[in-house]
């Protein structure tokens, strides 16, 4: 069945109008099975789950007892970035100093983002979707995967963090690298390509029979839920064959670090053209007790994970197509509690780098009390008097525009409530 025929059938059945899934692009991968698949850009969201301490990263303070490991005068400046000096406090991983020295010229940072909530679940939802008060909204990586390539077999990969899809695209969890090998060779006994289950002509017959059956059902009276699930099932099976393309890019050895393990799966999938976006996540940032030792262990691990992705993507020659978002669901308080920990704080930061993003830039700020400083949405300059408080919906609108999906029907299905005058102009310029 050609794509045109398929679209026609969907149209006749009213699928394209009523079904929330991207049934109109079901045959995307089928058409591309013999091609290189999805060609980018590839989106990676790094998530420091639990709430990172921004003052030990891109928004240093060194005053008012906000931090105990450095003083104001020790804050390091690299280009336009001011960063917390942590090199002497970490045992392994990557320090801010090294990370910003290497990536600072590419990094765009927003400080002083206001969530106005400070519990894990709503914050994680808000940061991931740009919408606080709905469980229905898709995360940005899910949305962009749905818009750009929902039929890619692993369009949206997730390894944790809030991962709602808005029913636009299935989420894929691939916990082990070697699983990819097996899945890629699902038509061979134990992955041995010399031992196919069926002779090729039998496989062809089976596929044709399934295709004919799918075609015949388009005109049948079906409940919306049945229509959707039949479409998603058919597309999942057909598109899964594209997983064969992953095999050459699967590393022979499994990485030891948490983020590197996830990254290897995501990068191989990107390179193979079977994946649009991935959520990478490590946890334990929720440092209510002993904030400093915990953050000094986790931040370097986190930064090293990002560095790993950048280096590996360079090896795979897809770095120039990578768009990286670095975030956490919340910040941590400007004061220490009695357990030497820091609690939840609704003022946060976020970082971007990658394809099309101009770096060496810091937007927004927090004041000496770690309170958000409003910004002018047009100039992005600090404007305490007349500025706005940058919130996740502002960032997500900017992200949608950056990805070129702001007018996609899926995006319109999940509108962000940002008044025109509050839209962040030139956020990416």
């Amino acid at each position: 069945m050609s794509r045109r025929t398929f679209l026609k059938l969907c149209s006749l059945a009213g699928l394209g109008f009523a079904a929330p899934v991207d049934v109109t692009s079901l045959l995307y991968a089928k058409e591309r099975n013999d091609s290189a698949g999805y060609g980018g850009p590839y989106y990676i969201v790094f998530n420091a789950s639990g709430g990172w301490d921004t003052t030990y990263m891109m928004d240093p303070k060194g005053i008012e007892g906000i931090n105990r490991l450095y003083k104001d005068e020790e804050i390091v400046t690299i280009g336009k970035h001011r960063i917390a000096p942590i090199k002497k406090h970490i045992e392994k991983g990557m320090s801010n100093e090294d990370f910003f020295a290497k990536y600072g010229p590419e990094l765009r940072v927003l400080n002083g983002m206001d969530l106005s909530v400070n519990n894990h679940s709503p914050c994680a939802r808000y940061m991931a979707t740009g919408k606080l008060d709905s469980l229905a909204y898709p995360t940005f990586p899910a949305l962009v995967a749905a818009c750009h390539g929902s039929a890619a077999p692993l369009a949206f990969l997730t390894f944790g963090n809030y991962s709602a899809t808005g029913n636009l695209v299935p989420m894929s969890r691939v916990p082990y690298l070697q699983s990819l090998n097996l899945l890629a060779k699902a038509d061979s006994v134990e992955g041995n390509e010399r031992a196919p289950y069926h002779d090729p002509f039998v496989s062809d017959r089976i596929e044709r029979a399934l295709e004919q059956q799918f075609e015949s059902r388009v005109g049948e009276a079906r409940l919306p839920r049945v229509e959707r699930s039949q479409s998603m099932l058919y597309s999942a099976q057909v598109n899964s064959k594209a997983l064969q393309r992953v095999v050459p890019f699967i590393p022979k050895e499994v990485a030891k670090e948490r983020l590197a393990q996830q990254a290897d799966i995501a990068l191989a999938s990107f390179k193979a053209g079977v994946c649009v976006s991935a959520n990478l996540s490590i946890g334990q940032f929720d440092s209510h007790n002993n904030n400093d030792p915990d953050q000094m262990k986790l931040i370097p691990e986190f930064l090293a994970g990002i560095d790993y992705v950048m280096r590996k993507s360079e090896d795979l020659q897809i770095r120039e197509k990578l768009i990286v978002i670095v975030q956490s669901e919340m910040g941590r308080t400007p004061t220490y509690n009695t357990g030497n920990g820091k609690d939840h704080w609704s003022i946060n930061s976020i970082m971007f780098l990658g394809m099309g993003i101009t770096g060496d830039l810091v937007i927004g700020a927090t004041d000496e009390k770690q309170q958000a400083v409003p910004i002018n949405p047009q100039s992005l300059a600090l404007d305490k008097e007349n500025g706005i408080r940058a919130r996740p919906e502002h960032i997500h609108l900017a992200l949608r525009e950056f990805a070129g999906i702001q007018d996609h029907p899926f995006s319109k299905q999940f509108p962000l409530e940002v008044p025109a005058k509050e839209k962040l102009q030139s956020f990416w310029n």
Partner: protein, 780 residues
Amino acid sequence: MSPECSLMFPRRLGCHVRHVPHLMTTVVLMIVASWSGVVSGETPPPPAVCSLEDRFFEDEVWAKVGERTCLRCHHSRGDAAESGFLLTRRTSENPAWLQDNCKTFQKMAMTLEGDKSKLLLKVTGGLDHGGGQVLKPDSTGYRILERYVRRLSPAKDVSIPAETIAQYNVRPFFEGVIMTSPRRLLRRVTLSLAARLPTASELTAVDQRGQEAMDSILDGILQEQAFYDRLKEGFNDIFLTIGIEDNAETLLSYDHFEKTRLWYDKHDLSHVPEAERQRARWKLADVYRDALLREPLELITHIVRNNRPFSELVTADYIMVSPYTARGYGIFDEIKDQFKDPENPFEYIPARLKALKGRDGKTQESATGMYPHAGFLSTFHYLRRYPSTETNRNRLRARMLYQHFLGIDIMQLAPRVTDAAAVAAKYEIPTMQAADCVVCHKTIDPVAGLFQDYNFEGGVGPRKAGWYTDMFKAGFEGESMPAEERWRAPQWLAQRVVKDPRFPVAMVEHVYYILFGRKVLQLPDDIDDPMFNARRRGYVAQRQLIEQVASRFTKENFNLKVAFKALINSEFYRVDGLAVANADSHRRAELDDVGLTRLLSPEQMERKLNAIFGKRWGRLDDSMKVLYGGIDSITVTERNADPSGAMGAIQRLLANDVACYHVARDFRRDAAERLLFPRIEQTDLPGDDAANLKIKQAIVDLHQRLLGHERAVDHPEIERTFQLFTGVLADVKAQGRFEPRETYFCGGREEFRTEDPHYSVRAWRGVVTYLLRQHEFLYE
């Protein structure tokens, strides 16, 4: 501000929007035609009769403003309980609830303050409205009220747009929806709950008595062990209590079970050869840990199996222990005679613990000398699964109590303040002082206080410095816990929880989740959505079912089987399809969630394969479980509802592999013992009509067994399958030469070899592969 100060809880937990009841009703509403504005302070005329011609009040005013916005506070237990504008939730005790609300709205709308309706002034924050501005003047909600006020004046615009009238021309909810046949319903239920296909006697019963027979059949199914296994699996999806990261024996605190929790270390294994002893001890420990983890779920099966009130989920004054776990608690010797088999690690019986004695010699405070068991609320497993911290202060436990036992997700719809950080900085104790925090913390913190005698990890251990004084005192829903009840606080809480009308609703929602594989619908969010009313109607229809079943469940003494049976017998569960295609977008939106249509979980798929083929595949149990959308109860806690490409690959692998294993084997059996091919031999090939008919009958058998379809030989799907079979044979014939035996892997491997001179075994294998990849097989 406390770090857990929510600032995002609904303004009142008791009026969570999801539980705002309402219903498309037959109550007739008529807006009275006479308008007489009433000046503030004057008594308005007697309430106008609300009866009907259009549905403006219910579908616009009530659906889009009243129940979503006003009802949050304006009800008898809400923050605005003292106001003169009290609304009512739908209740079976008061069939006129909507009419009453209509009158209340009408009275407020017709009362003037100056020349403006009091209703419009209040919602925009005027007249010192306690809730401040709840609608902006340019919002859809405000415009609806504006129009409502205008419509009360005959002199002004009272016309109803044509499209609105058409939209309201609703028909019976299930009109045009086909219900499944009793036979298919039976198969659906036996596979879902009993992990098997229907028996011959069950099929006979439904053939003879139709749907009526289901009641007694269900009674039988709900006593089968497989049902209890399913029950445990389903409730673990909800409570996740097997998701303990540490070794399970750490559930039993070092302080209280120091000498017993590691009993396996000293257990006599002298009967095991010394060389194998260490391995045996490790295995013993593993089994013990498994047995410990199962305890809370065994409580559920005990309650249901014995038709005990499901309220014991939180009120049970006992726990379930096995011979192995009883040793961990140090009570084995006391109760060993009660076990049928004291060596069976998974035989569970109810038991009570004495008040716990710590290593310092102090015994837990108890008026009875016993541990204050309160079902899940006092189990170490539940409290460990939802731990606390110095700053969380048991609020997670309070949140889970509301979510699990009252159906309220307090983190779901999170209202925010303008600047949370500023609020935190402004107040010394925001959770008790800042209005935005207090509205929720005054409800959540008292419940958190009820767990004050449990430590962060779930063991008994009051905080050394005493419970926090910068929190609202322990209690529940406005009632303080008396000091003398503190030693049994979980029991005190449980008694109140089970009396709360939200408890039975929450339990029925759990059963719905187990049966349907998804949560109940939420009230639609977007009142600007053109499909809002249609979606709301779908929600309301489902809500009505849940509430009806909850009411029956309550009357039947909280017998959970009643809820299972009622939901299974409901139209929602029995839906099978549409009579005719319906392209009307409103109707499609109404029916959007209707129909079981659920992707089978890895566990369900394995059970189905076992039921149909007599053998599990085995690969979805472990290595592919999470990959196929399953959960590990710790980090992955929600199942995939839709198949990804990775899952599509697993489906292909499964279909290939299962067909590979079973087809040749089935042909080797005597015909009478075959599961797949009872009426065909591998020597039966296409040919004349009789030969073809025989093959089609074999295909009918396969459709019936694998897909549950009773299809005639001339059904198009039978014909399609026939064409696949004959097409494969035609292809191979055209090819000329082929191996005359089945492949090594699918032909028996070392076990046996399968000659296949006609290629028919491989063609049938292709057919089975094809059927296993179908929606009807992979979905419930």
